[in-house]
């Protein structure tokens, strides 16, 4: 069926992107922070349009791309992230660039890329939407043209990104060769119809696909681009990278792994589990010795990716009900992780606008000069570490619960151990803020009201999810269900 109405919210977002770029083209004098507020407005419209799609019957566009609750979940998430990051960038970009419309336009387009990644039920569509998101990120990372670090980060990101896409594609071509189909349903059918026995082409294909998507979500050992891209990128783009691109990568992985190749789970689940263990350990251990805050958050987010990957392995080990539990655990943790990350970067952007420093020592004595920001940063770090009453605790708990099967038990144990390691370097940041005297200027300064309001709203959200996770959990469970309906994932006949 050709039903063009299933992506109306994305038409709104993409249309606004073109309108914003056109606005600056014809009115070059338009206020640069005004563009940010327009983008935020577009994101609100996108979000509201997305609300109408909740709970509707799943629809598919000729089996290529589907609009169901899973898609709508990522649609709302994308709109929310674009909203927050646009407001976060308003003053940052105004002070640093002369043209900002492409920045905001690309942000909206990148959000659409994420939605299509979540919606794709066919390899070509998945690839094109992955590249749509990646291209916008390459440009956004290098947006500060005269900045040495920004252009270097962008070059490293695009070279490794293109390299990983090529590997991903080679894996896809092998899977296509074995199954003769590029739709997820067709692949699942052909794989389950195959007489059993391991086919080297299939295993190599799975491993290459895993390496490709591992690059995109920055799983170790494919993580080396992430710290560089995070550190060199403009501050709000770092927030965008660590929330949107991570969530999008997992959207693609979830749909691809649960709908297409879950039938041959025995051939990839052990690899995902090893990848998860390696990723969380490396991320957390390397984070300890970091001096730059963005770089530290990059490694800490690599650690978080490690925790999230366990759920993917758990999908491979469980039955459909176990799959729903694991997926909804992952989805709820994505909400908690995104909220805490956005909170952290909102506060950090406010501090950076004032001090111009993004290393850990730059936060020295922040509790003296700006106690509110110090409190906000502390909240977000506690949430990252998973302390009770903050979002990170509840969501991580649900995720580990969903991911625990008899085979994945040891990785979950390792993840809990890693959470303790991570507490150490989060507390190091808090120590800088509270136990040291400020360097230089000691007078109190005021936070920009937009960033302050945003920080208050996000703190409330983090506390709300932490103390009352019910609504977030219901949302994630509803979003997880379409992936495991019989018929969508044809033949959940699993290899024992």
């Amino acid at each position: 069926m050709r039903d063009y109405t299933i992506f109306i919210p994305e038409y709104i977002a993409a249309g606004s992107a073109v309108a914003i770029i056109g606005l600056e083209l014809f009115m070059p004098k338009f206020r640069k922070d005004g563009l940010a507020y327009l983008t935020a407005l577009a994101a609100v419209a996108w979000f509201v349009a997305g609300l109408f799609f909740i709970g509707k019957d799943p629809k598919s566009f000729q089996g290529l791309i589907a609009s169901d609750d899973f898609t709508t979940y990522f649609r709302l998430l994308a709109a929310g992230i674009v909203f927050v990051v646009a407001l976060m960038s308003a003053h940052y970009m105004r002070d640093r660039t002369k043209t900002a419309s492409e920045y905001y336009g690309l942000m909206l387009v990148g959000g659409c890329g994420m939605v299509y990644m979540a919606a794709a039920t066919e390899l070509i569509t998945a690839y094109i939407s992955l590249e749509l998101l990646s291209f916008t990120l390459y440009i956004l990372v290098g947006y500060l043209k005269r900045d040495n670090l920004s252009s270097e980060a962008s070059l490293k990101y695009i070279l490794l990104g293109a390299f990983s896409s090529a590997m991903f594609l080679y894996g896809m071509s092998l899977i296509y060769g074995v199954t003769g189909s590029t739709t997820y349903a067709g692949i699942a059918e052909a794989l389950s119809g195959r007489e059993s026995g391991t086919d080297p082409a299939v295993i190599v294909g799975f491993m290459l696909i895993l390496a490709g998507v591992g690059f995109k979500v920055s799983a170790a050992p494919f993580h080396m681009w992430a710290p560089d891209a995070y550190e060199g990128a403009p501050m709000p783009v770092t927030a965008f990278l660590s929330t949107l691109s991570k969530a999008a990568g997992f959207a693609l992985i979830l749909r691809l792994f649960s709908a297409a190749i879950v039938v041959d789970a025995a051939e990839w689940r052990w690899a995902v589990m090893v990848l998860a263990a390696l990723t969380m350990t490396m991320g957390n251990l390397i984070a300890i010795q970091q001096k730059n805050l963005k770089r530290l958050i990059a490694y800490s987010s690599i650690g978080q990716v490690g925790y999230m990957l366990i759920t993917i392995a758990a999908i491979g080990y469980g039955d459909p009900q176990g799959g729903i539990n694991a997926t909804s655990g992952l989805l709820i943790h994505i909400i908690g992780y995104v909220a805490s990350t956005l909170l952290f970067f909102t506060a950090l952007t406010a501090a950076y606008n004032k001090t111009g420093r993004d290393d850990i020592d730059g936060l020295k004595g922040l509790a003296e000069t700006q106690p509110f920001l110090a409190l906000v940063i502390t909240c977000s770090l506690f949430s990252f570490a998973g302390l009770p009453f903050f979002a990170g605790f509840a969501t991580k708990l649900f995720m580990f619960q969903g991911a625990t099967t008899s085979e994945t038990m040891w990785v979950v144990g390792l993840a809990v151990l890693n959470s303790f390691i991570s507490l150490y370097y989060y507390l190091m940041i808090i120590r800088q803020m509270y136990l040291y005297e400020p360097v230089g200027e000691t007078a109190r300064w005021k936070v920009n009201p937009v960033l302050g309001g945003l920080a208050v709203a996000l703190v409330l959200a983090v506390l709300f999810i932490g103390m009352y996770p019910g609504p977030a959990f219901t949302v994630s469970e509803e979003a997880a269900k379409p992936l495991f309906e019989p018929g969508v994932a044809t033949g959940m006949a699993r290899v024992p």
Partner: protein, 102 residues
């Protein structure tokens, strides 16, 4: 008719050469060329599979067309970024882009 295996072996060799180029080359433009080589190997794979295993259907060929298009866009973008790095630092050598590390 040439058997399918020949195409697959050829494409695997081209892909491996591409990987070698990415790892061994020091100039960003040459790294990009190596990545192009990898993408071409993938296209060859897709077209060979489409012609031999999936007669009458052209999904693989369509995929190849998309890969060529996206690869062109990717190179355009990457060259723009290389030029910017060159303007800032007067080098297109990936080894010298090493301010950000560890």
């Amino acid at each position: 008719m040439v058997p399918l295996e020949n195409y697959l072996v050829l494409s695997a060799i081209v892909f491996a050469l591409g990987v070698y180029g990415v790892l061994a080359r020091r100039n960003a433009v040459l790294v990009l060329m190596a990545i192009e080589l990898m993408l071409n190997a993938v296209s060859l794979n897709f077209i060979a599979f489409a012609a031999y295993l999936d007669p009458g259907k052209i999904t693989g060929a369509i995929f190849a067309v998309f890969i060529i298009t996206v690869a062109a866009a990717e190179v355009g973008l990457a060259l723009a970024i290389v030029i910017r790095l060159f303007r800032n630092r007067a080098t297109s050598n990936v080894d010298e882009a090493a301010i950000l590390k560890w």
